[in-house]
Subunit: 276 residues, 2 copies
DNA sequence: GAGTGGTCTAGACCACTAT
DNA sequence: TAGTGGTCTAGACCACTCC
């Protein structure tokens, strides 16, 4: 049922020129509050007036104020808490104090990569890591997608781990990861310890197989209902979704994972060398 | 004015248990429409019923339907076009057919990196690249942030380029980039040609300076008004914001750029090697 | 002229918390 | 009890396009 496949092209997307004014009222409020934040009139940690007060101040309905505030939430300038109010998060940065993703150093840098250990990384940052298994780890039949990424037939079982990682008790990311069962099946008996040691070092020691290559495909979108619940994200706040494929030196795929992380809280840092 | 710095922690953020029901009505609609999409009842390219029809179908006000549809827009499952309606974008993937970011291969892979040329990369993908300068390139006094990232004093001028890149006429990303003027000042006279050749190869040939290292810090957030206009993004759709620092072999910073790209359209791929 | 999405209004009730 | 954010309603007008 293709309906000529619409594109963003020529739809003059100026949805803010209706109702006579030059800008929508909500957009005007976004601009004004945004300016107050960047000028320092509203500072980090400050509480904003209530929605009802702002509605009165801007001579506008409460829904219009809410729309403006939702925009500012999505831009990461505000956080909201039921009953308590809206709070200024940061003038420009300040969110970026957590490094959300492992820093992958490349050979030329002389640094060491962290071997895939969330715990080691978080401790190094001085944060308290925690991990919750949302499902018990299990051997499952892979669905089509998983089988394809792991380069397995649909009949071979895989080890599935589905967990939520936290740092300082703040939900950090959801990880749904799959591993070939012939390599990692025995980890089933060690679930309590998983994560306390670098997984790929364990693989190297027990199977002589060295993880060498990582590919990450990264997209951003809004969280769905389930993710919002697990990550405790405000509606309208985006998440970063990463599909990660880890290969061994033999080019065998040894892990495929889907990672979902709250985007407003964290920065993902990638380092790499240029080959001209 | 710190107000004890609120956190996401214990606020049981279940904003969907109000009004008696178990789920909010809007969330129920998201779930139902999402299921119809993933089950194939609504297929890629299909047009959804109008907001008013959906409101009647779900026995709900139009604003509630709109809220549900905004969520689906943000998840990337729908696109909306004024006057025309809402259209199904993809069951699960399909957006990912464009590779949005350059693929940085690492030394061990034996592949070649692309030297910083947007044009070469897009042509290789069979897409028609285009570039629009939103400001004419100019030598400007750096603000504090730029001076710091480029490791310059605020008195030294920098070359600023501010441009919008398009692929197949679709806005692709905004790039605000800064370069030390002693290295790139002469490019001012070549603006028409900039981008048609790999910038870092040009640097190597004219100054004997080789770009070696890239660091990217990546966050996702909702677009602000200006970005929405330039990138022609639906409200509620996220963008990926990248801060890129490029250094030469001498550790001198030769470029600092802030990149803003529509997130729903593109996937960012990163490849790198593991050093255990 | 009918229908679309985008915007806005002026109310309402809920669950929750601080006083 | 008063005030908060979260949710929802039942209308309204606009600019625009398709017929």
């Amino acid at each position: 049922m293709y309906d000529d496949q619409p594109e963003n092209r020529e739809v003059d997307n100026n949805q803010f020129e209706s109702s006579g004014g030059e800008l929508g009222k909500a957009e005007g409020i976004v601009k004004e509050l945004g300016a107050e934040i960047s000028k320092g009139k509203l500072r980090e940690g400050d509480r904003l007036p209530s929605e009802r007060d702002l509605a009165e101040r801007f001579n506008v309905s409460r829904m219009t104020v809410r729309k403006a505030l939702q925009t500012l939430l999505g831009e990461g300038l505000l956080n909201s808490y039921p009953v308590r109010g809206y709070f200024v998060v940061s003038p420009l940065q300040g969110l970026k104090e957590h490094q959300g993703e492992m820093i992958y150093s490349v050979p030329g840098m002389g640094e060491l990569r962290l071997g895939g250990s969330f715990n080691e990384y978080m401790k190094r940052l001085g944060r308290k890591p925690a991990e919750v298994f949302l499902d018990p780890p299990a051997l499952v039949a892979p669905n089509e997608e998983v089988a394809e990424h792991l380069q397995l037939s649909a009949k071979e079982l895989v080890l599935k781990r589905y967990r939520l990682q936290l740092a300082d008790n703040i939900p950090y990311r959801l990880i749904e990861s799959y591993y070939p069962s012939d390599l990692f099946g025995e980890l089933l008996t060690l679930t309590a310890d998983i994560g306390t040691q670098p997984l790929f070092k364990w693989l190297q020691e027990h199977h002589g197989l060295t993880a060498t290559h990582v590919r990450e495909d990264l997209t951003a979108r809004l969280a769905n209902t389930y993710e919002r619940g697990q990550l405790r994200i405000s509606p309208g706040a985006p998440v970063v979704a990463i599909e990660r494929t880890v290969s061994a030196e033999t080019d065998r795929v040894i892990e495929w994972a889907r990672i979902t992380a709250s985007a407003t809280l964290y920065t993902f840092r990638y380092d790499y060398e240029i080959q001209l």
